[in-house]
């Protein structure tokens, strides 16, 4: 069965890249571009993993993370934060609040994205691979 990925990202160009790449790699992908829908889609779609952008219009991804981790229905879904800000604070806060990992968007190519997802999902062949960001 295909693993499902929910991508919460408002930048359509980035979403296109990630979703096409992940589909090629055999994932099922759903996108939401605004924070308000993230929570309900996380419940309805029941993804295996969520890629969550920190900087969303009108809403901070960290707040959505807190909400996800505070709800019994979504608490166990691993979340990888997406960011292009080098702010240590945000990353630290995300990891403290239960994010499985984070990705600096500008540092990775779409083709490297699936590797990171697999490491988090524990489906990677190389279980020693640590996510380098």
């Amino acid at each position: 069965m295909k693993k499902k990925v929910l991508i919460v990202e408002d930048d359509m160009a980035l979403f296109n890249m990630y979703s096409v790449e992940l589909k090629i790699k055999g994932f099922d992908v759903l996108n939401v571009s605004d924070g308000l829908q993230a929570m309900s889609k996380a419940k309805d779609y029941a993804p295996d993993i969520i890629l969550l952008d920190i900087m969303l219009p009108g809403m901070n991804g960290l707040n959505i993370l807190t909400e996800l981790k505070g709800d019994s229905q979504t608490v166990d879904i691993p979340v990888i934060m997406l960011t292009n800000y080098g702010s240590e604070d945000n990353v630290k806060k995300a990891l403290e609040n239960g994010a499985a990992d984070y990705i600096m968007k500008y540092k990775i190519l779409p083709s490297e994205l699936s590797d990171k997802i697999e490491v988090v999902l524990g489906t990677s062949n190389d279980s020693d691979v640590r996510i380098a960001v």
Binding site: N16, M17, I24, S87, Y106
Partner: protein
């Protein structure tokens, strides 16, 4: 007859007399004249002598005034004057009776010892003069505190004086006391001496009181400056007590009362964030200034400059100037935020360009032509975004440094507006926004930089679209509304872009056109974009000699308005 007769003798005598009489007359005349001359000369000599002494006395006046003018204490000045008279005028004693806050003071300056009788007699003379001056006709003796300087009471000492000159000590109309000099013999009979004493005393008193007045005035001025300073000022005296603290320092350090603190108490108040005691002691000993930057005290970042206060190389205290770094701190934070935001804005299109290109390269076999087109378009659009950001940064940097220039030429502003609105129409239609154009009739051709004016319009329109589309309006009504208009005024055209988006809070309105504030506090910071659009719009409008501002739209939304002069 050879014997001289008596007649001959008389005759001879007569001849002799006749001969000698004119000579004698001349002699007597000469003698008288000489005597007169001598007298005149003597008189002149005497006058000269007294004149010389008079001049000599006056020549030393500046010397005493130099000393006196440094004193603000009248008593000290009078002591100085008394000592001065003892040295320069032939007197046995100089004394003064002075009204002080709790009674009267009598001080006598002598060069040797005096008897009690002398002291009492001189005091009676001074108090009699004082009573007379103030018009007190009673015979009551004025009780005084008494002090003798330069000598003491001794029954073998000077027992009497001759001649007295007493002068009232006045401050304007107020009689403060009497100053007396007592002669040795007839030394005070010379009216010039009295004049001399009077003049010196007047000068001494007025110099002292004027200096005091000047000092009080200067002190007030200095205090006003100190109190109105944005910097905090502290002064520790050599006993490590806080002798001066202005209002700003009180506010910075959270000290509200005026108690006299010592340095360790001040240290306690600052609560360990700054070792004040250690620093003040160090500066006092080393005489070297010491500065501390960015000390966090009571919620503020403060910088401290401790300076030794030196008089003739002697440390007489340590001063501290406290500067509030918080504003700079805030600006620094804003700059950092701005830089982070710019970096983010540059990274976003670069991430897309790099990723999309990689996708096409890696998956070209799997990709359909539509896929390739999608990613190639993403590369093109992102490159365009990147270019726009770089141009905006460059423009805003030019505006900031005052090097932004516009090239004015004849410009049909009504046509420019119509064309731009036409370009936007398709875009707004796709977002369910009505775009309405409302232009006055007979709009003149103005002198303007066409490209730059289009840039302003684009910035305002894209903001309006962004907020009308993303704002609550999408949840509340089906369609957004943007109204663009042009009004012809006497010397300018006024162009407005009104939206019915969520509007802009008042506190942000003022800062909207400010580069760094924008990055952090404007609602645009939640949106993509550098937020430089309005900064650049303002720069362009002002370079044309126009103005730009924002108002609330009715019933909701914002109106951005700018003017462009005809010429």
């Amino acid at each position: 007859m050879n014997e001289p007769s008596a007649l001959d003798a008389y005759f001879n005598i007569g001849i002799v007399l006749l001969c000698f009489f004119p000579a004698a007359l001349i002699f007597i005349k000469y003698k008288l004249k000489t005597a007169r001359l001598v007298k005149v000369l003597r008189e002149k000599e005497a006058a000269l002598e007294s004149g010389v002494s008079y001049v000599k006395k006056w020549q030393s006046v500046p010397e005493i005034l130099t000393h006196v003018s440094m004193l603000t204490d009248l008593q000290e000045s009078l002591d100085l004057a008394a000592g001065y008279f003892l040295r320069t005028v032939d007197i046995s004693c100089a004394s003064y009776l002075l009204k002080i806050s709790n009674g009267y003071l009598y001080r006598v300056a002598v060069l040797g010892n005096i008897t009690r009788g002398f002291a009492d007699k001189s005091r009676h003379a001074a108090s009699a003069h004082y009573r007379e001056t103030i018009g007190d006709t009673s015979d009551e003796e004025i009780l005084t505190e008494q002090a003798i300087t330069g000598g003491g009471l001794d029954e073998t000492g000077l027992s009497d004086f001759f001649g007295t000159v007493c002068i009232p000590i006045r401050n304007k109309d107020q009689v403060l006391g009497s100053f007396c000099v007592f002669g040795t013999s007839d030394s005070l009979k010379n009216p010039e001496t009295k004049l001399f004493v009077t003049r010196i005393l007047d000068s001494v008193i007025s110099a002292t009181l004027e200096f005091k007045q000047v000092l009080v005035k200067e002190h007030k001025k200095l205090d006003a400056v100190l109190q109105s300073m944005d910097e905090g000022v502290l002064l520790f005296d050599p006993d490590y007590r806080l002798s001066l603290m202005n209002r700003t320092a009180q506010m910075f350090l959270g000290i509200s009362d005026q108690r006299s603190y010592n340095v360790s108490q001040v240290s306690d108040i600052i609560k360990g964030s700054l070792p004040v005691q250690e620093i003040v002691t160090g500066v006092m000993d080393s005489k070297e200034p010491k500065s501390l930057q960015r000390v966090f005290v009571n919620g503020r970042y403060l910088s401290f400059m401790f300076l030794p206060v030196l008089i003739n190389r002697e440390t007489v205290g340590v001063g501290a100037v406290i500067h509030n770094d918080s504003e700079e701190e805030k600006l620094r934070n804003l700059r950092e935020d701005f830089t982070a935001m710019v970096v983010h804005e540059l990274r976003a299109p670069l991430t897309v360009i790099r990723g999309s290109a990689d996708m096409v390269l890696k998956h070209k076999e799997k990709f359909s032509p539509q896929d390739v087109e999608l990613f190639m378009n993403q590369i093109k659009d992102s490159a365009w975004d990147l270019l726009k950001i770089v141009n905006d940064l460059l423009d805003s940097a030019k505006i900031e440094s005052g090097k932004f220039e516009v090239v004015k030429e004849d410009c049909n502003i009504a046509a420019v507006l119509s064309q731009e609105i036409g370009n936007y129409k398709m875009f707004t239609d796709s977002k369910n926004i009505d775009l309405i154009l409302d232009i006055d009739d007979s709009v003149p051709i103005i002198r303007a930089d066409r490209e730059k004016v289009i840039q302003v319009l684009n910035n305002l329109l894209s903001n309006a679209v962004k907020f009308t589309y993303k704002g609550e309006i999408t949840h509340m009504a089906d369609r957004g509304l943007i109204r663009v208009g042009l009004r012809v005024q006497p010397k300018t055209v006024q162009i407005f872009v009104a939206d019915n988006g969520p509007g802009i809070p008042n506190e942000i309105k003022k800062q909207l056109f400010n580069k760094f504030i924008q990055a952090r506090e404007s609602p645009i910071s939640n949106e993509s974009g550098t937020g430089l659009g309005l900064v650049i719009a303002k720069g362009i409008v002002e370079a044309h000699g126009g103005k730009i501002w924002v108002e609330d739209n009715v019933p909701k939304g914002s109106v951005f308005i700018f003017t462009l002069p005809f010429k």
